[in-house]
């Protein structure tokens, strides 16, 4: 039992950290620009594919550094020449723009790399067992993913709270007009934030690619869960996104481990009355639990766990 709890916690926190790498960018972009970026998970996919392409040409480590930068540059270009043009027509066109962009990126990825999963492997330098606990091994690559995510979190926090740029970003989150009045180039900050957000998603893709599966459907599989994270965490709240990411990661992992059904909880008589619903285990419905959480949060606490505003 202790073993199951330990490893579920490890797996859950790791998955949560991965979610946070994407949710942080998404929530920053949303709170600053008011754009719900549907293409965010696509940047994650691009990161994975660029990482794959670079790693098979010159190695994993160059890919680890170059791929996120390339994805960030693409993000910045998308903001400068796409979103900014659409911005003047309001939020709905922006939303539709990112929505369309997600499909375009998916099709492009299929054109370049095909529909089959890419053979993106864990680099040999990280392909060993990190530690052994209760007779279960834990791969070093997962530790590396975890440490990368933590490093990124610390880095982001330091920039936002300790630097001038961070101050301006924080200010333009809430008072963009005032910041512009003070002489700062707000459109440029937007572009920067969008680029950095995309780069973070790209970094998540580079490190998740070998551990999960690098395939054209990876963006569509992960996209919806990101929205759950930013809604549960509270729109525009970075710490909220962090807590929500870890929470969702843990909820999903632990739900898989629980075999109880309604029949077990309320007894056979109630279970029989519920029919099939009575015998479905928590493990079986694990994938939909985050969405149930999304609906409940929107009903009972529309601002999210840490949010301060409703939209």
């Amino acid at each position: 039992m202790l073993e199951l709890i330990t490893f579920s916690t490890l797996n859950g926190v790791l998955y949560g950290m991965l979610l946070f790498m994407m949710a942080s960018g998404l929530t920053l972009i949303f709170s600053m620009m008011g754009v719900l970026n549907f293409a965010h998970a696509s940047f994650y996919m691009l990161g994975a594919y660029f990482g794959f392409e670079i790693s098979r040409r010159i190695g994993f480590w160059p890919g680890f550094f170059i791929a996120p930068l390339v994805v960030g540059a693409i993000g910045a270009v998308v903001e400068r020449y796409g979103l900014r043009q659409v911005h003047r027509f309001g939020h709905v066109p922006e939303l539709l723009f990112t929505f369309g962009l997600a499909f375009v990126i998916e099709e492009l990825v299929q054109m370049f790399w095909g529909k089959l999963p890419a053979d993106y492997r864990v680099p040999p330098s990280l392909d060993f067992i990190a530690f052994r606990l209760f007779d279960t091994t834990y791969p070093a690559y997962r530790m590396f993913m975890f440490l990368t995510a933590v490093a990124m979190f610390v880095f982001l926090l330091a920039i936002l709270t300790r630097t001038r740029v961070g101050l301006i970003i924080q200010a333009s989150l809430t008072h963009p007009n005032m910041v512009a009045m003070l002489g700062h180039d707000v459109p440029k900050i937007f572009m920067l934030v969008f680029g950095v957000g995309a780069a973070l998603a790209g970094l998540a893709g580079v490190i998740a690619g070998p551990a999960l599966v690098t395939q054209p459907s990876m963006a569509a599989l992960l996209g919806p869960i990101l929205f759950v994270v930013i809604v549960v965490g509270g729109l525009g709240s970075l710490s909220g996104a962090f807590v929500a990411s870890i929470l969702i990661g843990l909820v999903q992992t632990f739900a898989v481990a629980i075999n109880a059904s309604l029949t077990d909880v309320f007894g056979p008589s109630v279970g029989a009355a519920l029919g099939d619903l009575g015998t479905v285990t928590v493990a079986q419905i694990a994938p939909i639990i985050p969405y149930v959480l999304l609906v409940l949060i929107l009903i009972f606490r529309p601002t999210g766990l840490f949010g301060t505003r409703e939209s």
Partner: protein, 410 residues
């Protein structure tokens, strides 16, 4: 000049249309994108290779065979759209294998289509969807299945497990849809009957082709103390499950249906479980007859993958036989020939397409995956490991009764 050009254009158009009539089109409807794509692509290559062989030998009644791929994304609704699209292109034979939920929808579609369009019938050749219901309660005259159904496979697997006294605690993990559910029910029932001392320590159903990280599931298997896992998983669901097991260092025996599919062998090699992963198959390449080994060698050289579907060879060869014997590629005539057809199976022995339910019966094999014996020819996915025959069930012993009462056309 202009008149000549026009005449030439008309002539070309006519030639085009005769060329059109001289191909027999087979619509291959399977996932070519998404979680099932890796196995779907492999199947397409296999069928295309088989069609090329038929064409190289002169075609069927002078006509070429063409395989056209349609991507159904493992989705029943999308399958029906693609099937209609195929029929609109002049396809009269459909083949599909991945996903019994898809197969049930397609079988139903074909039956309804044929009822409404007499004289334009379409046949459905099923090479891998193994839900027993397709040749039992929901059987259909226009559907033919070359893969042994799930009950036949589970019966053979459990017979093989029976004398293995090291099996004490079994964990079941399956995909949450009709096929996975039938695997778990049958496994429970048959293990109880053959080895009542075995304890089922886990019975998991997970979403179909959506999981990218099986680590939480493997942690659970580990915690249950199981010494054996039984799974019907296919596509990425078996490859990623084995990969996660390798990461966690899970040391158990595996009894599977499809560990041989894309990515499976690579993952087994990672687990280091030498000859502890078993799969039920309709042939074992390393001990197959010489003719089958030659076929596999040529196929590998051409396509770059192993032959996952020996049953596809049986399917296409029996189709060719039926068309040639009937001297017609009218689906109705072909179906009448296929019913009850006896055939020398690709991997040896004689098989029969049972008339009552259109289920094909042949010898079944249980193979283990591990280090190659001296003289063994085939490894998988460049791992240096390959399949070895561990058990065999005669065709006659795989026959299970059917509840099928099909309506035959007049």
């Amino acid at each position: 000049m202009r008149a000549k050009l026009a005449a030439a254009a008309v002539a070309f158009a006519l030639m085009g249309s005769t060329a059109y009539a001289q191909t027999i089109k087979i619509g291959y409807i399977d996932p070519l994108s998404g979680g099932g794509a890796s196995v779907g692509e492999g199947g397409l290559k296999t069928f295309q290779y088989l069609a090329e062989q038929i064409n190289a030998a002169g075609g069927l009644n002078g006509k070429k065979v063409e395989i056209i791929g349609f991507d159904n994304k493992t989705n029943p609704q999308e399958t029906l759209v693609q099937a209609q699209k195929a029929i609109d292109q002049g396809v009269r034979f459909l083949t599909q294998g991945n996903g019994s939920s898809v197969a049930a929808a397609l079988s139903d579609f074909v039956q309804k289509y044929n009822d409404r369009n007499p004289g334009k019938e379409v046949l459905y050749f099923n090479y891998a969807a193994v839900d027993p219901v397709l040749t039992n309660d929901k059987c259909n005259y226009w559907h033919f299945r070359w893969d042994a159904n799930s009950d036949i496979k589970m019966s053979a697997l459990t017979t093989f497990m029976k004398p293995r006294s090291n099996i004490k605690k079994v964990y079941l993990i399956n995909q949450d849809y009709s096929f996975g559910q039938s695997v778990r029910t049958q496994a429970r029932a048959m293990l109880k009957e053959k080895r009542s001392d075995i304890e089922i320590v886990g019975d998991e159903l997970h979403p179909l082709l959506k999981i990218t990280d099986f680590a939480p599931y493997v942690a659970k298997i580990k915690a249950s103390g199981a010494d054996t896992v039984v799974t019907g998983n296919w596509g990425q669901d078996i490859a990623l499950l084995l990969k996660a097991a390798a990461d966690a260092g899970l040391q158990v025996d595996w009894f599977t249906y499809y560990a041989g599919g894309a990515g499976g062998p690579t993952a087994i090699k990672q687990t280091g479980l030498n000859h502890r992963v078993f799969a039920i198959q309709e042939g074992v390449n390393n001990s197959a007859p010489a003719e089958a080994q030659k076929f596999e060698t040529d196929f590998r050289a051409k396509s770059g993958i192993g032959l996952w579907y020996p049953r596809a060879v049986n399917e296409m060869r029996m189709f060719a036989k039926a068309v040639t014997e009937a001297k017609s590629d009218e689906p109705k005539a072909v179906a009448a020939k296929l019913e009850g057809m006896k055939f020398d199976v690709f991997d040896g022995g004689e098989g029969v397409m049972r008339k009552d339910d259109h289920q094909f019966f042949q010898d079944m094999y249980i193979a283990s995956f591990g280090a190659l014996d001296a003289g063994a020819k085939f490894d998988e996915e460049g791992t240096g490991w390959g399949w070895k025959e561990a058990g065999r069930v005669k065709a006659a012993d795989t026959v299970l009764p059917t509840t099928c009462k099909m309506e035959r056309p007049n």
